[in-house]
Amino acid sequence: MATIHVDGQRYDVDGADNLLDACLSLGLDVPYFCWHPAMGSVGACRQCAVKQYKDADDTQGKLVMSCMTPASDGTWISIDDDEAREFRASVIEWLMTNHPHDCPVCEEGGHCHLQDMTVMTGHDRRRYRFRKRTHRNQYLGPFIAHEMNRCITCYRCVRFYRDYAGGTDLGAFGANSNVYFGRHQDGVLESPFSGNLTEVCPTGVFTDQTHSERYTRKWDLQFSPSVCHQCAVGCNISPGERYGDIRRIENRYHGEVNRYFLCDRGRFGYGYVNRDDRPRLPEWRSERDEGRVTLEVDAALDRGADRLRSARRVIGIGSPRASLESNHQLRELVGEGNFSTGIVAAEQRCLSLMHELGRSCGLPTPTIRDVEDHDAVLVLGEDLIQSAARIGLAVRQAAYARRESLAAERSIPAWNDAAVRTLGQDDYHPVFIAYPTTTELDDVCAANWALAPDDIARLGFAVAHEIDADAPAVADLDEATRAAARDIAARLTAAKRPLVISGGSLGSEAILQAAGNVARALARRACHGSLLLVRREANSTGLAMMGGEPLEWALDELDSERADAVVILENDLHRRLPGPRVDRALDAAATVVVLDHQRTATWEHAHLGLPAAAFTEADGTLVSLEGRAQRFFQVFDPAYIRPETRIRESWRWLHALRADVLRHDVGDIALDAVTHDCARRYPELAGIIGAAPGADYRVRGLKLAREPHRYSGRTAMRAHIDVSEPRAPQDPDSPFTFSMEGYNGYDRPREEVAFAWAPGWNSPQAWNKFTDEVGGHLRAGDPGVRLLAPRPGDYRYATAIPEGFRPRDGEWQVVVLPRLFGGDETSSRAAPIIERAAPTALTLSADDAGRLGCADGALVEMSSDAGSLTVPVRLDPAFPAGMIGVPAGLDPSLVAGGRARLAVAAAARSAAGEAPPPRAGGADSHADRGDRS
């Protein structure tokens, strides 16, 4: 603790901070540009100048940059001093000499840090009469728009992109007044975190291109606190809606999860919500060969209920991308014995195992922020950047944190970024990665191994044995692996906080068991370590806690006619199991009811299709991979702008359907009732009630506002439909209103913040007003509750150690490699993600390719029992021989663990390389999945 005096007032602050950080944490407004809470200070922009005095009697004082001055005990400063004020106003004026006169046509206007700071310092008239320096822009891909003229050379972009996120293709060029931030030539930004540039850049140089086409100012967007549905990490987001479409996703600060940064899939993968072909009305056909008719809600429910009532047995297929509430309502509708999770058996086994390990391995699951505090990391069988990108970024920070410990030894404060980085150079905390191919974290890892899944598991088991001799030893281990294991074990045990990361991406239970053994071995040595297990989908963890039969079971029940009706919840079965297998089961069922927000291949089989709400139109609860139950709230009412739609939350549809089947009065139901019901039903999920405040939560007697108070156009946006405005939609499910009426301030702490705004702070920097200290936690506590905690006990080591992998002649082992862009079910239907996704290609080792006689990019026919597929190959020198890597989202007929045969495609031999490779992420058509034969 330190005592500082600001403008005569006494404050107690954390002495390890710099003055800027301390002042902002105290709620004092000091303008700044180059400083960022996650990236420290470099003192480049000179904007945060304050007057510092020697002591209480000093009246002269001197100007210092508050970001570069420690908040040491007994500091006397003045922010309001005239000289300091004038200095700051001059700095802004200099920065603005080259600023183009284009705020009206700038996609940053309205949430621009430069605008805020200009207003804060009082600069309002241009005095500089000379010519402005100009720059040319670059094409940076489908996500980011570039407008270099707006740059104020604060260097935040490259500091984030290169120094924080490890990107290499964005840099600073030129010198003095000519400095240019961009790539060496036009091209797509490679980093999967490029979207953060839009928030990191204090002005409009880097803006959200997906938003630009139908741009809306921040004050005109309707927000709600939401949770990203694109992977299992559970990053907090604020989606913004205007005129019935989601326009952008902003980062929502969560002190323990995503903090300031999101990955590009989460930020730009929302487009599927806005698709024109989304079902918006119930669709019905009594027989499969009939055309569909659209129905009203009551008629649809009645017909659906009639069919379900007359069915002998109804199977329910849930979904790991739907909320707990929706899955629970489905389970209530069909009964416990008839509920399937909608997850394939192999994945579900992995999920159960991960759930079990989370409790029984003896090490706790870290939060994402906590990951950054570990000083040795072992990653077994996960490419974190592809499967859980935000965790990959956290692991990168864990590696970089070595610099801070080196700096601490020399009393260099951690915030002094340039000094810390110069001192640390390429010295990282040890990160070990074992994965079949190269990963984007390889540049910071101490060692990495490209191994087959079974060999990864063996490496893990060997590490466990090296840490604790009681752990089972691995038979026939080669010397290199043993040495590697010894090295890893030594570094893990030497670390203060070792972290083991694994997951279900490769679909290998052996890898998970190996990771569990390492964790147990560390736990036995009383290490203060952690175990993090990566799941695939937004609610995979929650569904594993809820339980249910795997998807194959459900299809078998239908196939064998033990059941004749099925209700499928927000799940495209065709992306999980081979098409013919799914088709056969669905054709056997007399009644197929599908609830979804996308027109999927499964939807096409429905007798009754009910238009479900996507995450932006629904409330619900998800459990993230760290076991955090988090509630997401509805952003907008789709029927307000499009009154003809009949979109409802899945749990609402299912509740009504159930009441209709039982011939009960449907009545109305609110989210809180369903959540309480769900929590009562599953003891493990009892905590989800506390994930967010209920619908009766009020601040000063007010509900919370979804819209900023400047929200415009209320009396005109709907006037073309009817000049008489209807009552604003009411929300019985949450404490939020669909209007600007309600509380939106920062002075009363609250967990659920729809959008961050404070007087004078329109940019995302306003989050500093909501946190207990800059970069800390939300003042009311971070949202969500953790449901997973390790249970103490004497747990045994797993002993089922697999044999080492041996390539077979003429047969290749299939591994599915997760992909950030195009690898998941929903975001791969968004246009920018489709554009960004790499062309689909199989990964093959160079040796195998030589044996097959195919070159890089050649078309290869891959066939297994379930079908065949012709796709180009990508040669990877690091990839182990005898395996074939299939990108996720390609075709479920070639699931992990299976084997396939390869042959150079006949078509390819004649027209080598002429046919364009099929695009990734089958969004619209089956043709996208490659040429199936």
Partner: protein, 179 residues
């Protein structure tokens, strides 16, 4: 008492006399609509969208008029033309809500939205008072004859490259070695 009656009677008669004398004064009442009303050019009446001196739409869909509007009766959506200009895909004013305060005109950075001396907005159906862009857009520059936003702003559009706006230097060549 008698005094009061006398005073009252005189006052009444005086009033009647004054009213009678007004019949010989010049008439202030206009026979609207037969006679037209004079409105000063700055009168704040019906809102129009103007064009720049080149005949292109001035509105760049920046949304400032909408946010300035105290009754929130303006709503629009930004879109972008092939030449890089921003324009409103739709622009709607609900004149049944408009209070003709002129805040939109003051907020407009491009002189696009202007209030005109026309108050004749009577309709039998309120719905008719919802004006879309085609109802609002006029063919001239309105009160501001010269202003051309894109000639001032740094945003490049077709026909006006980087460095061609007012007071702009030629774009920097970042690959040159010269200082």
């Amino acid at each position: 008492m008698l005094m009061n009656v006398l005073k009252g009677t005189v006052s009444q008669l005086r009033t009647i006399g004054m009213v009678f004398m007004h019949s010989f004064r010049k008439r202030e009442t206009l026979n609207y609509p037969e006679e037209s009303v004079y409105l000063p050019p700055r009168y704040r009446g019906r809102i129009v969208l103007t064009r720049d001196p080149d005949g292109e739409e001035r509105c760049v869909a920046c949304n400032l008029c909408a946010v300035a509007c105290p009754v929130a009766c303006i709503s629009l959506q930004k879109s972008e033309r092939e030449d890089g200009r921003w324009y409103p895909e739709f622009f709607r004013i609900n004149f049944s809500r408009c209070i003709f305060c002129g805040m939109c005109e003051e907020a407009c950075p491009t002189s696009a939205i202007q209030l005109t001396p026309d108050f004749e907005l009577g309709e039998y159906r309120r719905q008719e008072l919802v004006y879309e862009k085609q109802d609002l857009l006029i063919d001239g520059p309105g009160k501001d004859h010269d202003y051309h936003f894109y000639k001032v702003a740094g945003l490049a559009i077709a026909g006006k490259d980087k460095g061609k706006a007012r007071n702009e230097a030629e774009p920097i060549d970042v690959k040159t070695l010269l200082p």
